[in-house]
Symmetry: D2
Subunit: 384 residues, 4 copies
Amino acid sequence: MDFQYSQEQQQLADAVGRLFEKSYDFEARKRIVGSVDGWSPDAWAAMAEMGLLMIPFAADDGGFGGGVTDLIATMEAIGAALVVEPFASTLLGGRLVANACSAAQREALLPGVIDGSTKLAFAHAERASRYALNQVETKAVKAAKGDGGWRLDGEKVVVLHAPMADRLIVSARTSGEATDAGGISLFVVDPKAAGVTTKTYRTVDNLRAADIAFAGATLPADALLGEPGAAFDAIDEAVDFATVLACCEAVGAMKFANEATLEYLKTRKQFGVPIGAFQALQHRMVDMTISAEQARSICLLACAKLDAAARGEIEAAERRRVVSAAKVKTADACRHVGQEAIQLHGGMGMTQEMKVAHTFKRLTMIAQQYGDVDHHLERFAASW
Amino acid sequence: MDFQYSQEQQQLADAVGRLFEKSYDFEARKRIVGSVDGWSPDAWAAMAEMGLLMIPFAADDGGFGGGVTDLIATMEAIGAALVVEPFASTLLGGRLVANACSAAQREALLPGVIDGSTKLAFAHAERASRYALNQVETKAVKAAKGDGGWRLDGEKVVVLHAPMADRLIVSARTSGEATDAGGISLFVVDPKAAGVTTKTYRTVDNLRAADIAFAGATLPADALLGEPGAAFDAIDEAVDFATVLACCEAVGAMKFANEATLEYLKTRKQFGVPIGAFQALQHRMVDMTISAEQARSICLLACAKLDAAARGEIEAAERRRVVSAAKVKTADACRHVGQEAIQLHGGMGMTQEMKVAHTFKRLTMIAQQYGDVDHHLERFAASW
Amino acid sequence: MDFQYSQEQQQLADAVGRLFEKSYDFEARKRIVGSVDGWSPDAWAAMAEMGLLMIPFAADDGGFGGGVTDLIATMEAIGAALVVEPFASTLLGGRLVANACSAAQREALLPGVIDGSTKLAFAHAERASRYALNQVETKAVKAAKGDGGWRLDGEKVVVLHAPMADRLIVSARTSGEATDAGGISLFVVDPKAAGVTTKTYRTVDNLRAADIAFAGATLPADALLGEPGAAFDAIDEAVDFATVLACCEAVGAMKFANEATLEYLKTRKQFGVPIGAFQALQHRMVDMTISAEQARSICLLACAKLDAAARGEIEAAERRRVVSAAKVKTADACRHVGQEAIQLHGGMGMTQEMKVAHTFKRLTMIAQQYGDVDHHLERFAASW
Amino acid sequence: MDFQYSQEQQQLADAVGRLFEKSYDFEARKRIVGSVDGWSPDAWAAMAEMGLLMIPFAADDGGFGGGVTDLIATMEAIGAALVVEPFASTLLGGRLVANACSAAQREALLPGVIDGSTKLAFAHAERASRYALNQVETKAVKAAKGDGGWRLDGEKVVVLHAPMADRLIVSARTSGEATDAGGISLFVVDPKAAGVTTKTYRTVDNLRAADIAFAGATLPADALLGEPGAAFDAIDEAVDFATVLACCEAVGAMKFANEATLEYLKTRKQFGVPIGAFQALQHRMVDMTISAEQARSICLLACAKLDAAARGEIEAAERRRVVSAAKVKTADACRHVGQEAIQLHGGMGMTQEMKVAHTFKRLTMIAQQYGDVDHHLERFAASW
C-alpha cells in the first residue's frame, strides 16, 4: 500500500502507461481480440522496442538485469489495458531458459526473446496434473537413430498463448514415475514440427490457448534445455515468477475496475442524485478499493521475496510460502473486485460493450491461473 | 429441498428434459449462439409446439391457466441447457399484456405469444433507472394530428432479446415526474417502425440485447396497453414473475454445474486417485450442492407466493418480500456455485470449450438480472 | 419459510412463550446463571409440569408420541429465552434409552425423564474423538467378581449439563478397535458413584459442563442399555435428533437477536434520525432476517426428515444428509446473525448487560455443537 | 508481512514478552479477571517500571519520544497475553492531554501517566453517538459562582476501564449543536467527584467498563484541557492512535490464536493421526495464518502513517483513510481467525478453561472497538 517506485521505475511506468493509452484503448483491443490470430504484431513490436522484454534477464544474457520488482509497472499496465499479447508467457519461457540452461543455449534463445522475435509458451499442464508441477506423464525418450535426438509423446492442455508462440517450452519426463519431481526435463519445440498437433481455442477471457498433442514428435539433440531430469526446480521458480506477474497484472486490472466503477457511480444519476451517493453502494466501492490495495501490498512483498530468493538471500521455501499467500489473497480480491465492479455498473456491467465486463472475465481467470486457492493453501502448508 | 412435482408436472419436466437433451446439446447450442441472429427458429418452434408458451396464461386467453409453479421444470431445463431463445422475455411481455390490458387487446396479442409467432422483449430500463421500476423518463405524448396516436421519445438500455423480438413492450411516461410510480404507461411497438433505432450487442453470457432509441416514433392509438398512466402495478408484478423465472433458470443451471463438476471430480485422476478423493475439494463440492438445494427451496417458495398473490390470497407486499429474499439468496448461490464449478474444473474450467464456463457466465448474469443484492435488500426493507 | 403450525402446535407454542416471558426474562436468567448450581429447579419443574419432556416419547413409554416437529416451538422458545436448564440434554439421553433399550429398561428410566425427576447428560465425546461418533476409547469390561457387573475406565470431555445431571448416559467400548462403529455400548451411570470424577466448568456461553474421568468405576449388570456393542446406530440417530433440536434452538435465538436488533435500530437515534434509517445498516438488518428465515426453512425440513426416518419412511442415509446440510447452513446463519446483531448494537452490543451479547455467545456455541461445518460436509459426502 | 524491528525495538519486544510469560500466564490472568477490581497493581507496576507508559510521549513531557511504531511489540504482547490492565486506555487519555493541552497542563498530568500512578479512561461515547466522534450531547457550562469552574451534565456509555481509572478524560459540548465538530471540549474529571455516578459492568471479553452519569458535577476551572470548543481534532487523532493500538493488540491475539491452534492440530490425534493431517483442517489453518499476516501488514502501515501524520509529513485525511482501511481489514481477520481458532479446537474451544476461547471473545470485541466495518467504510469515503 505504500510502495514507492524509484525514479527509474516511475519513468518506465509512465512510458508504458502512455504506450497503452495511445495505442491500446478498448476499441483497439476489440479489433485485436476479434482478429484471426488474436494478437497485434504492432503492439508487440512497440513493447519490444520499449525494451520491456529485456527487463528481467541478466546483463550477460543481453537483458536489463532487473528483478520482478522492475516488472510491476508493466504488468499493472498490461492488466489495466487488458493486453492480450504473450508478454508474461514469453517471459515465463525465457525464465525457464535462463534458469535451466547452459550459456550456449541461453545465447541461442534469449536474444530472440528479448528482441521480440521469439514468442514463447510453456506447455506443462496435463489432463491429470491439475496444478501439481511434478505430475508429468508426457514422455521424451532418446530417438532410435542414435543422433542424440528425442522422441516426444503425450498431451499438454490449456497452453496459454500457444497459438501465437514461435517456440514451445515443453516439459517431459525422461525418467521416474508420473509424479516424481526428479526425472522431468525441458525441451524447446517448434509448434509446426511433425508429430505436433495443436487444437486452438479461446479461454473465457478471450485469450488464445491450445491443447497440444505430441505423437512421436522428433526433436534434435539440442532441444533439451539443461541437464536431463533436473528441471523441476527451474520450473518451480519460473512458475512462481509467472504467478507473481499474473498477480501484478490482476492488481492493474483491479485498479482499472475500481476507477471505472467509481467514475460510473459519480456520474450516473438515479432519482436525480449520483448513484455513488447511496450509502450501501459507497461502502461497497470503498471495500473494493481497500481489497485491491491490500492485494497490491502482498503482491509487492511477493515480488520482493522472489527477487531475494533469486539472489540467494532467502530459502526457496520462504519464496513459495509468500508467493502462495499472495496468490490466495489476490484471488480473493480478484473475485471480490471483479464481481462488485460489474454489479455496481448495474445492467450495463453485463454487456460486452463495457470494458469492465472483460476485466471481470480476466480477473476470474487470473484467480485460478497457476493454481486455485486450495492448491496454494496446500503448497503453503507443505513449505511450513 | 423437498418439493414434489405433481404427476402432470413431472410428465412435463420429463418431456422438456428430453426435448433439450435431443436437440439442444452443447454443440447445437454453440452453433445457435454463433449464428448471425443468435437464436434457432427450430428450437423455438419445438418449444411452442410442446405448449410451453401457453402454460401461464388464463384459459380465457387461450392458455393453460397455470401458475409460475408450473413453469419451474421448464425454466430449470432451460437453465441446464443454457437455452438462448427468448422464452422468459416473451412470457414477461405476455404477462404485462395479461396484467394491464382489456380483453380486446389480450385477444389481439396473446394468441401470437402462445403459438410462438410473436416473440416479445420488454424495453423498460433506462440509463438512469438502474433497477428502479418507477424511474421512467421515456415520454409518450398524444400525437398532434389528433387521431389518438402517440409520439414516443427516449432511450431504453440493455433490452434483453430485443434483436430477435417481433414486438417490443415499451414503458413510457404519459404524466408525472421522472420517478413517480403513477403516470407510467405501456405500449406495444414494432421494432422496425420509423423513429426506432436499435443498437444490438451481446451480453457477457452471449445473449443478444440492444439499446433502443425512440426519436419521435409514431404509434397508433391502440398501441397503448390498458389505461394510461396506470401500468406500474402490472410492471411490478410482471417483473417479479420474470425474476422468479430467472431464479428457476439459475437453479437448473446450478444443477448442471454441480453434476458436471461432480462427474469431473469423480473421473479425473491426479496422483492416481480421483480428484474428488481430496478432502478439501470434496467439502467444496458438498457445499455447492447444499447451496444449490437451499436456493431451490427458497425459489420454490417464491413461486408459490407469487401464485398466491396472483390469486389474491396474499398481499403484494408479501410477494415482494419473498421474491426479493429469493433473489438475494439465489444470487449468492449463483456466485458461489458458478465460481466453484469453474475452479474445481481446474484450468479446464477456463476454456470456452467447456460448457461449465458458459454456465458460469450465465449464472453471473442472473445474479444481477432484475436487481442486484442491494436492490433487493432495499426493496425488502421497503415492504416491511 | 412457510411452515404453518397445526392448531395444537400453535397452542403449545403460545403456552411455552408465555411461560418463559413470565418467568425467564433476562434478569431471572442472570440470577440462574449466577447461582451456584447454574440451573433453576422452579423453571425445570414448570417445564416438566407443562409436559414438555413427554413430547417425543412413545405413548407406550408414557410420552405424547410426538416427533421432533412437535418440539420446534419449544426449542425456539428456549433459544429466544436462552434457557440454561438441561432440556435438550435430557431428551437426548432419553432418546438413547428409547432407541437402544428393552421395554423393561425404558420403563425403569423414562418415567423419571418425563416427569423431570431424572435429568440426563450424554457423556460421549473424548479428547481424541473430535466430532466422530465412532471413536470411543473409554472401555467397559465385565467385572471380575462375576455378578454381571462392569468396570468402566476412560475419560469423557465437555459433557454438557453433566454438573446437574442425575444420571449420565455413557458410551464405552466393549469390543473392537478404537474407531470401530461396532463394539460401542451404552451405560447408565450415577455421577456420584465411586470411581467417577467430575471436573466442572463453564462453557463460553455460560452453560455448565464437565470432563468426567472413570477410573475403575463399578457398574451393576443392569447399567448396560440394550445389547452390548450394538449402540452405534442408536447414538447416530439420537445425536441427529439432538442436532436438529440445537438447530431449532438457534432459530429461536436468531429470531430474538433479529427482533432486538431491529428494535434497537428503530429507536436509537444518531444525528437526529433512527439508526435504522441508514441504508447500509438497513441492508444488513434485512440480510440477517433472510438468513434466519432460510435457516429456519432448512431446519424444519430436517425435522420432517428425522421424523420420517424414525417412522421408517426414508433411509438413515437421507436423514444424515439433510441433518448435516441443515447444520452447515444453520451454523453459517448463527455466525452471520450473531456477529451482525452485536455489531449493529454498536458498543452496547459488547456489554454483558445486553441480552444480545449472550445470544451471540450461545449462537457461536451452537455453530459447532455436534460438529462444525467441515465435520458435516464430510458426513454429507460419506452419505452420498 | 516483512517488517523488521530495529535492534532497540527487538530488545523491547523480547523484554515485554518475557515479562508476560513470567507473570501473566493464563492462570495468573484468570485470578486477575476474577478479582474484585479486575486488574493487578503488581502487573501494572511492572509495566510502568519497564517504561512502557513513557514510550509515546515527547521527551519534553518526560517521555521516550517514540511513535506508535515503537508500541507495536508491546501491544502485540498485550494481545497475546490478554492483558486486562488499562494500558491503551491510559495512553489514549495521555494522548488527548498531549494533543490538546498547554505545557502547564501536560506537566501537571503526564508525569502521573508515565509513572503509572494515574490510570486514565476516555469518557466520550454516548447513547446516541454510536461511533461518530462529533456527536456529543453532554454539556459543560460555566459555573454560576464565577470562579471559572464548570458544571457538567450528561451521560457517557461503555467507558472502557473506567472502573479502575484514577481520572477520566471527558468530552463535553461547550457550544454548538449536538453534531457539530466545533464546540467540543475536554475535561479531566475525578470519577469520585460529587455529581458523578458510575455504573460498572463487564464487557463480553471480561474487561471492566462503566456507564457514567454527570448530574451537575462541579469541575474546577483548570479541569478544562486546552482551548474551549477546539478539541475535535485532538480527539480524532487520539482515537486513531487508540484504534491502531487496538489493531496491534488484535495482531498479537491472532498470533497466539494461530500458534495455539496449530499446536492443537499437531498434537491431538484422531483415528490415530494428528488432526492437522486432515487436508480440510490444514487448509483452514493456513488460511488463518495468511489472514493474520496480512492484517499485521496493514496495521504496520497504519502505524507508520499515523506517525508520519504526527510529524506533519502527510495530511490527516490520508491518516484517516489508512487507519480506517486497517481497521476494516483487521476486523475481518479478527472474526475469521477468532471463529476458526475455536472451531478447529473442536468442543474444547468452547470451554472457558481454554485460553483460546477468551482470545476469541477479545478479538470479537476489538473487531468493533472504535467503529465497526460500516463506520470505517463511511469514514474512508468521507476522506476521499
